[in-house]
């Protein structure tokens, strides 16, 4: 939309850095937003998008860097302060009050009053006028919760813009919208851009990014990968920016031994799937084999893992464990068959923060043994000690609450939790996410080690060179379908990228 000699940026971020403990969430990130443009901010989970937004809007304090708005340096210390500066954020989960009317939501905290009494009619009139600007003709006296998520989003945007916002940040606004609702939202976004408002659009729907954005900034692992004009950025190049490393950077030698493929079938799925979640897939995992799942965020990787572990119940297909038909209706079933699962969301789905390292380690084993066969304190101590040594968990104190450990060490405790059950299949969802570099390499080494002991592993990762490093086989997912399996020498970053992008390019040409 904006062409010609670089106009003065509306929002200018330079050299931004932010660390959480040992984890460097943002390093030397630049970001430039011009007035009247729609700028897509892209990256996989953990790339630093959310951190960038939260630092710019003052939710987190920054460690280094400068943020300028219209050339003037700003340092908001809360989301409220950022809003006062003119930077408004609308999150995926709309943070309005569904039980209040649309009009009340729009004017909450600044209702028109006369002698201290809210002028309801005036407020409704102004609310109606405001929403009409956005092409919404609705009854503003009705509770916001009665309307669709799209209307709620537009209401949130209208409120933000009416609070004299000049920068509007939309964090995954389309995640829960259908096609028609997305149209409504995009129309509003274009309208606002014409008014000179700068819009930051965070999404993992690449089609939408190509449809609406003028420019794209890609982050990966907390670093700026690049800023491009959308029109001149081929889709495969974009995916490479998001997932792959520069070729020169690729240090990962394939360590997977080709001989591994010969192991016995451990678990096999046939036509396994769940409507609306993941299309039916065939997948066989052999003993001593690492299978990598590659694909973009939302392509069905985690859904596959949850189905395999029984956390979601399949509505089609069959599963065989060691050749015998099995039933996976709950994680308990899966644990009983000797499966283990390290989920991506370590904090909410993995650790039990209040409990000690020892208790977190023995939990799955104890659950599998049942209530009546408790592990004695001596056995627990022994198991905890063994795995703390084996995985080099630090600090090596079994009685420390796990919540106080670093991310990498929490991940190792979760690995220990499953290894203690002597599993036959281990599912790891983003095992290296949010972990510092040292622990990262160690976890990759451990993955290979477990595998050599005959364990079957199903590993999800957004780091393609990581997947290439340890996988004997790679399953590529796209739009909730298993689209391709790569084996042996065919496993390399280029082939994976091609498989991920193939359909997207075709669709891009078609539309």
């Amino acid at each position: 939309m904006q062409k010609g000699p670089d106009p003065a940026p509306l929002l200018d971020v330079r050299g931004l850095a932010k660390s959480f403990g040992a984890l460097r969430a943002l390093q030397d990130v630049d970001f430039t937003l011009r007035a009247g443009e729609i700028h897509a901010l892209l990256g996989e989970n953990g790339a630093g998008k959310s951190t960038l937004i939260k630092v710019v809007t003052g939710v987190f304090a920054r460690d280094a860097g400068i943020v300028r708005l219209d050339g003037a340096e700003i340092a908001p210390r809360s989301a409220k302060a950022a809003l006062d500066c003119g930077i408004a954020t609308v999150y995926q989960e709309v943070n309005l009050l569904p039980n209040l009317s649309v009009a009340q939501n729009l004017f909450l905290g600044r209702q028109p009053t006369r002698l201290g009494v809210v002028r309801q009619a005036e407020m409704r009139r102004r609310a109606t006028a405001l929403l009409q600007e956005f092409g919404l003709h609705i009854d503003v006296a009705a509770p916001l919760g009665n309307y669709s998520v799209a209307v709620q989003h537009v209401t949130a945007i209208a409120r933000a813009v009416d609070l004299s916002a000049r920068v509007l940040i939309l964090d995954e606004p389309t995640a829960s919208l259908d096609r028609h609702e997305v149209e409504i939202l995009f129309r509003v976004m274009r309208q606002l851009a014409l008014r000179g408002i700068g819009i930051v659009f965070v999404s993992h729907f690449l089609d939408q990014v190509y449809e609406i954005s003028d420019r794209i900034t890609v982050l990966r692992n907390g670093r700026l990968i690049g800023e491009r004009e959308t029109a001149s950025l081929p889709r495969i190049e974009l995916i490479r920016m998001m997932l792959g490393r520069e070729l020169a950077e690729t240090t990962g030698e394939r360590v997977a031994a080709p001989a591994h493929g010969a192991g016995e079938a451990c678990v096999s799925f046939e036509g396994y799937g769940k409507a609306g979640t993941i299309a039916p897939f065939d997948l066989t995992l052999h003993h001593g084999e690492v299978v990598g799942l590659a694909g973009l965020l939302g392509s069905g990787r985690t859904e596959t893992a949850r189905l395999v572990f029984g956390a979601e119940r399949a509505d089609s297909g069959e599963v065989k464990v060691e050749g015998r038909a099995a039933r996976l209706h709950s994680p308990r079933d899966a644990v009983a068959y000797g499966f283990g699962y390290c989920p991506e969301e370590r904090k909410t789905d993995g650790i039990i923060a209040d409990l000690t390292v020892r208790e977190n380690i023995v939990l799955a084993l104890q659950a599998r043994r049942g209530l009546h066969r408790p592990l004695s304190r001596g056995e627990q101590d022994e198991i905890a000690k063994r795995f703390i040594e084996l995985l080099d968990i630090r600090p090596p104190d079994p009685e420390r609450p796990i919540g106080l450990l670093s991310g990498g060490n929490q991940q190792k405790v979760l690995l220990a939790r499953w290894l203690a059950t002597s599993p036959r299949l281990l599912v790891l969802d983003e095992p290296t996410r949010g972990i510092d570099v040292g622990a990262h390499a160690e976890i990759i080494r451990l993955i290979r080690e477990f595998c050599d002991k005959g364990l079957a592993l199903l590993v999800i990762s957004s780091e393609l060179d990581e997947i290439v490093t340890y996988s004997d086989r790679v399953v590529v997912l796209r739009d909730r379908v298993h689209v391709e399996q790569l084996q042996g020498d065919a496993i390399d970053v280029t082939n994976i990228l091609a498989a991920i992008a193939a359909d997207g390019a075709a669709r891009g040409a078609a539309s």
Partner: protein, 337 residues
């Protein structure tokens, strides 16, 4: 958390000692004991005896709260169990009376557990249903009257003694021992703490979280029924309107004083019992002091606040809150200006 536990317990024990010391000041004979008809008497024994029902309730309540739940119905379940026991006492044998009363308590607990674990209703609402309905059920059983009985067998649960100790004290102590043995002797303790600490993660680790929740509510119902039997035996009758009235709040208070968080996770059975005794030591002390019993409620509130502050790991949190409030007020002013 583990490392803090001994210090954690210190606050409660200190509070109990202090309250007993105050009791000794207002009533110099507080620690005197005498033997009469093979049973010990004295104010300290009184504290234990009167405190037995709340001790029993808190044994169940602490497990429920550890799973991040709450059980408001225990007072009503006491009334139901008491009503059943009193109505059957003079016409049926003791084992049958006990089985009927305890069995009903168990069913009440399972009902609560079903609502929470299977239907996923919020615990406070789920148990509110039985809190309200339970008293009605108890009144239906007693037909709206106070039912009295003469059976000495059931009466023993209120007035009997073993080795000089009143039966309620022995029963409560036995139940404490049994609960500790079951919960800490099996894997139940760990799995309950895991469920309360993070139900999603526990489920994914293969823990049968629903079963845990069902089990703790069932146990809570059982404990409440036992407390109801003791209360009925104590007065040789059942008063559906007043038996166990508001005792659910005392039980929750005892658990919280005992350092178990309402957000679930870590729990301590022993400290919950100490919490129950703290409450009863205060009640008895005020009765002995001759102050009007109305004062009881106020004093209770102050002591509870003191204990909670004592065990709070960050009194500093309060200072932080004050600063935030001040900041918010300043910002408000700024916005107006």
């Amino acid at each position: 958390m583990m490392a803090r536990l001994p210090r954690h317990g210190l606050a409660q024990i200190l509070a109990l000692v202090m309250i007993l010391a105050v009791d000794r000041m207002v009533s110099p004979q507080f620690f005197d004991l005498r033997m009469q008809d093979g049973r010990l008497f004295g104010s300290v024994i009184d504290v234990l005896n009167r405190g037995a029902p709340v001790v029993l309730l808190s044994l169940g309540m602490v497990l429920v709260i550890a799973t991040r739940g709450i059980d408001l119905s225990v007072g009503a379940v006491m009334a139901i169990a008491g009503a059943i026991a009193a109505s059957l006492a003079d016409s049926h044998s003791l084992p049958l009376v006990l089985a009927a009363a305890l069995g009903t308590g168990l069913i009440c607990g399972l009902w609560n557990g079903f609502l929470v674990a299977v239907l996923g209703i919020q615990p406070i609402i789920a148990t509110l249903i039985l809190m309200v309905a339970g008293r009605g059920i108890a009144q239906l059983i007693t037909e709206g009257r106070i039912v009295t009985f003469t059976s000495p067998d059931l009466g023993w649960f209120g007035a009997g003694a073993i080795l000089g100790f009143p039966a309620p004290v022995v029963i409560a102590a036995g139940m404490l021992g049994l609960t500790v043995a079951v919960v800490r002797g099996s894997a139940l303790g760990l799995l309950i703490e895991a469920t309360g600490g993070n139900a999603r993660a526990s489920e994914l680790a293969g823990v049968g979280t629903r079963l845990m929740i069902l089990a703790v509510y069932a146990w809570c119902g059982l404990c409440a029924a036992l407390a109801g039997i003791i209360s009925a035996a104590d007065i040789m009758g059942a008063d559906a309107n007043n038996a166990g009235l508001w005792l659910e709040l005392d039980a929750i208070l005892a658990v919280v004083i005992g350092g178990t968080s309402l957000f679930g996770g870590r729990f301590s059975l022993l400290l919950a019992v100490v919490g129950a005794l703290i409450i009863q030591a205060m009640n008895t002390g005020i009765l002995l002091s001759g102050y009007p019993p109305e004062l009881n409620l106020l004093v209770k509130a102050v002591v509870v606040l003191a204990v909670l502050l004592l065990q709070s790991p960050r009194l500093a949190g309060l200072a932080g809150l004050a600063a935030r409030l001040r900041g918010a007020r300043l910002r408000l002013k700024g916005a107006k200006a």
